[in-house]
């Protein structure tokens, strides 16, 4: 039981962390222009 009371919050917490990261990415417009993001990596900085 003590193991569970430790592991379940950790598991849920990690899941929530992932969810929060996804929301963050969505709000930041990471998924707005996937084509552009693919092309941008080819641009060399001067």
């Amino acid at each position: 039981m003590t193991g569970l009371s430790l592991l379940i919050p950790i598991a849920l917490g990690l899941g929530l962390l992932g969810l929060a990261a996804f929301f963050w990415a969505l709000r930041d417009g990471q998924f707005d222009d996937s084509e552009g993001a693919a092309a941008r990596i080819l641009i060399e900085d001067e």
Partner: protein
């Protein structure tokens, strides 16, 4: 030291953001050229390219006007058109909300499933109760958040006394959650939190697919759009010119329109002579000659020389706005169309609810307690919840739309596919729809090779539609341009140059031989050759019309052209052609056909087809069509061929067939599962397995449409 750095920091300058459509962005090179090149222009702070939408957002000093920004992009070598401020995009916001709800439901479904698996593996007593409580803790906020799209739509339908797919969904989810909560509180054996949340997850996946499909097609169409002018240079009384936004233009103002600019308001020409491209209105490619006294319409592109126009109507009073109103009225019939899934739900929902009520009554009569009878009724609702039904339609439609998109057809939404599958008669516009809608030079083969090279050199120097057509035709033949000296374009006259000391030119014909045809004159020294241009038929127009007829669809040509111009095309395609139709006449024609019980597919391109496109049961427009037509049409097809029209109808019919198969599969699954539920044998495990299997089967069946457009 850090505080010192803060002190020298500049006060933020007030900036403005403007959007431009730049269709020419293709690669990383274009992207970096624009993003690094634009900020070099004084006043421009930054530029951000969206490659998917082919747009550039420019952050700049408010003093810079749209024409100046456009010039800055053109200086980098890209075509650009200003886009009106998009404001708040309602559809994009809705899509985002759905994705968020899907993410939450997915997170919850996974975690609850982990807990449920431990319960199914034999967790007992206090462990089970704790796991149920944990599940409830995750499920309740999830249902409250991720269920909103369904609850809202169900509530809206119920308030109007109708029912749709979301009514049984909402009732099922809410009752299951409530019942599970009750079980949890009383320490019962089963809780269906996993079922309720998984159901939401699958259904939201369907919704997201639907909304993404619409968004993708919309972005595609928006990238093709050529905007009407956002404003004009207005001449003050004291002779100064000042940039004025379109909505601030008033009748009586005088605007200066340079060559290459679009008119921002209706008006009358005061000074200057030019050619106006009014393809947006008529779909005709030939520029119309205008001179002082002539009336001109907002949205027309000034091709040749500068003109001064006195504004007679602006904003909502322009001819375009009138047609837009006509279209809005005509389009109301389409919004009354009830989608397949909702039509199915009309029969499905009452059946399911009756079944649940009957099981409840049956078990009460058989002597079970209220608690057990209620549990069974809820299990029936959960198992019949239209999970597969909710996926059946969007899964098939998004696969079909993807297949069509690879063939160059952008379908706006799922309802368009459903309507396209039902059509019984196709009405075609002529110019720009059956024909290419742009001039194609004739008799190039008769010219000497050297002359062709000179012609390409000349035509490259001008943006006149005939020059552009000539250049495209010559480049397609692999002609290399000849080096020319003293190249100059005289607005309204033509392009003049010297070739090895000899004067050459591509100019307006001195004598008009053909009254209706378009022509340009090529002169070399004393010699003059007349180049005729015609609007060629799309290469496969005749075959496509035959294919459509083979599919049992009647065809008709409805054009605004002179009847004698339609004779040849009618003979070639073996189709009745009606000429001299104004926009309102086309609308009336569609109305008459509808009255006869036909489901009309309207295929047209000009703004004059707009009302008919809106009124048709379904509509398609080529990508060369006017903005309004592209926005109104259910599907837009790219390229020079007409075949996509027949392909789209074919794919639409196959999609509906697959959707119906999916319905049959979903109902078949219910026939198997419902007796189990009524018998009280459905544990949360059975519900979870049944639900995922039926969803997977439906998706697998939909994937068969992948090659449908080949």
């Amino acid at each position: 030291m850090a505080s010192q750095a803060l002190l020298v920091e500049e006060t933020p300058i007030e900036t403005k953001e403007s959007l431009f459509a730049v269709p020419g962005i293709h690669c990383a090179g274009c992207l970096s050229k624009i993003e690094n090149g634009l900020p070099l222009t004084p006043g421009i702070q930054s530029a951000r390219v969206n490659m998917g939408a082919k747009r550039v957002a420019i952050r700049h000093d408010p003093a810079l006007t749209p024409p100046e920004l456009k010039a800055a992009i053109i200086a980098l070598g890209f075509e650009a058109e200003p886009l009106a401020d998009p404001g708040i995009d309602v559809a994009a916001a809705e899509n985002r909300m759905l994705v968020r709800a899907l993410a939450v439901a997915g997170f919850a479904a996974m975690n609850i499933m982990l807990l449920s698996v431990s319960i199914w593996s034999g967790a007992e007593g206090p462990t089970r109760t704790m796991f149920h409580w944990l599940s409830a803790l995750i499920a309740l906020p999830t249902v409250a958040y991720a269920g909103q799209p369904f609850f809202r739509s169900a509530w809206a339908a119920l308030r109007q006394g109708r029912t749709n797919m979301d009514v049984p969904i909402s009732i099922g989810v809410l009752l299951t959650t409530g019942m599970s909560l009750f079980e949890t509180v009383t320490g019962g054996e089963h809780a269906w939190f996993d079922g309720a949340v998984m159901l939401l997850f699958f259904l939201l996946a369907g919704r997201c697919l639907d909304s993404m499909m619409r968004g993708r097609a919309r972005a595609g169409v928006a990238a093709l759009l050529k905007q009407t002018a956002p404003g004009a240079l207005v001449l003050d009384r004291d002779g100064c010119s000042r940039w004025t936004a379109a909505d601030a233009l008033r009748p009586g103002m005088t605007m200066l329109v340079a060559a290459g600019e679009r008119l921002a308001a209706d008006g009358r020409i005061v000074a200057g002579e030019s050619g106006l491209d009014i393809a947006f209105l008529t779909g005709e490619s030939a520029p119309v000659r205008v001179q002082p006294g002539d009336r001109v319409q907002a949205g027309a592109l000034n091709v040749d020389g500068p003109i001064t126009v006195e504004v007679t109507a602006a904003g909502a009073d322009t001819v375009i706005a009138d047609i837009a109103r006509l279209m809005e009225e005509a389009g109301q019939g389409k919004s009354r169309y009830v989608r397949l899934a909702d039509r199915a739900a009309r029969y499905y929902a009452p059946c399911v609810h009756l079944l649940a009520a009957l099981s409840f009554a049956g078990w009460m009569i058989a002597g079970a307690g209220v608690h057990q009878a209620l549990l069974i009724a809820v299990a029936v609702l959960l198992i019949t919840c239209p999970c597969a039904l909710g996926l059946a339609v969007p899964a098939a439609q998004i696969v079909a739309c993807g297949a069509l998109m690879r063939r160059g057809v952008l379908v706006k939404d799922g309802s368009a596919l459903e309507r396209l599958s039902e059509i019984s008669e196709a009405v075609f516009d002529k110019t720009g729809t059956l024909t290419l809608g742009r001039p194609v030079p004739q008799g190039l083969r008769r010219l000497w090779r050297e002359d062709r090279a000179i012609l390409l050199g000349l035509s490259r120097a001008s943006r006149h539609p005939l020059s552009v057509a000539l250049r495209q035709a010559l480049e397609a033949r692999g002609v290399t341009p000849a080096p020319l000296d003293a190249l100059r374009e005289v607005p309204g006259e033509g392009v003049f140059a010297d070739y090895q000391g000899e004067a050459v030119s591509l100019a307006r014909p001195r004598s008009l031989i053909n009254l209706f045809g378009l022509a340009s004159e090529y002169r070399r020294g004393e010699q003059a050759t007349l180049l005729a241009f015609t609007d060629a038929l799309r290469p496969d127009a005749v075959e496509t019309i035959d294919v459509l007829r083979g599919m049992g669809i009647k065809t008709l040509i409805a054009s605004g052209d002179r009847p004698d111009a339609l004779e040849e095309i009618a003979r070639m395609t073996g189709t009745t052609a009606i000429g001299h139709l104004r926009p309102a006449d086309k609308l009336a024609l569609i109305g008459r056909l509808k009255g006869k019980g036909e489901k009309v597919l309207m295929v047209g391109d000009g703004l004059n087809d707009g009302p008919a496109l809106a009124a048709g049961h379904a509509s398609m427009a080529p990508a060369s069509a006017s903005d309004a037509s592209q926005l109104t049409a259910d599907a837009v097809f790219l390229g020079d061929r007409l075949a996509p029209v027949a392909v789209t109808v074919h794919v639409a019919r196959r999609t509906v067939a697959v959707v119906k198969q999916n319905f049959a599969l979903a109902i078949g699954y219910n026939v198997l599962a419902v007796p189990l539920a009524i018998a009280g044998k459905v544990t949360p495990l059975v519900a979870a397995v049944a639900m995922s299997t039926s969803s997977l089967i439906v998706i697998a069946n939909a994937l068969r449409l992948k090659g449908a457009a080949k």
